[in-house]
Point group: C3
Chain length 132, copies 3
């Protein structure tokens, strides 16, 4: 599965995941998602108020500032090392139980790719299901 | 499974998880825990000295201060957006191998719900086991 | 599996994991890694430029300083409570799909033990595979 991003921010793809489960007629088991990158994350977060995503982005932008003189790895741009740090502070894999053909997400939970680079990217995600 | 919380802090429920494994006579496989919320986390941490939990709480309270003027999402209270940030900085799912009917936790590891909101909550957790 | 560490930093063991998969002739399924400690982490990060690891270490060293007067739990040394915080900010378990006998890691991804204590340690990791 690929999620296209257009700069920093949270990109929800819960519907794509549920469609994949439906297409494969999976009922009960465990879904694992793995993002194949080191400058973006997978995140489960609130999908109601968009301000939550804006504030998450603002907080991480302040916590891990671009162009921090602490960083030596700067060849790929001011936003590259911050992207690696933000990935380390979050996660690149998620395991979510599936029951009756549905993800057991909470009512406000959505699945996001969190893009940490300033430019657009196509982010590849491996999906794995075990069960029936 | 539900874990009741009474404000911020770490609530251990390792015994409840082990009792669930025992009741179901699970022997060898993989246990996945998923917390269905966006303002609390699942954490594996030291279960010996209570000061470790106190210090974790103190550090996160300073790192993500309540009422930070950076935040726009403030309608649900000063502690709400910090709770979302703290959840993003930690995790809502865990995968733990089970061997011979026991979690393969280290000797000092316990499983906790980390409540990030100031008020009491009932936190729902989905448990999934695959194996035999 | 055990990974020996010699003070703070990232220790790659991707090859050991792939060798374990090969030895067991696993083809398709889910690999779960669980680190049995509360002062070190498992991390998937870039395995190209060593400066990335240096910068990750520098950032976390500044974010969670040794000897922070905020901390009460200091009996085991100035670097102990920071190690617990750094573990909470990262993860102790990973789930990675396996396809055709290979981890579905991205081209730049490596699997690391991140040692958060100043001294050498032998870090124990449980590996679990389900599939065929």
């Amino acid at each position: 599965m690929t999620v296209s991003t257009r700069g920093r921010g949270l990109y929800e793809f819960t519907d794509d995941v549920e469609a994949w489960i439906g297409r494969n007629k999976f009922r009960d088991g465990l879904l694992t998602l793995h993002l194949q990158h080191t400058s973006a994350s997978l995140l489960i977060q609130e999908n109601a108020d968009p301000d939550v995503r804006r504030d998450l982005e603002a907080f991480f932008g302040r916590l891990v500032p671009d162009g921090d003189p602490l960083f030596v790895h700067t060849l790929e741009g001011d936003d590259d090392m911050p992207a690696h740090v933000r990935t380390a502070l979050t996660a690149v894999n998620l395991g979510i139980p599936v029951q009756g053909g549905r993800l057991t997400l909470g009512i406000w939970q959505g699945i996001y790719v969190w893009e940490h680079r300033a430019r657009s990217h196509a982010r590849r995600i491996t999906l794995h299901f075990i069960g029936e």
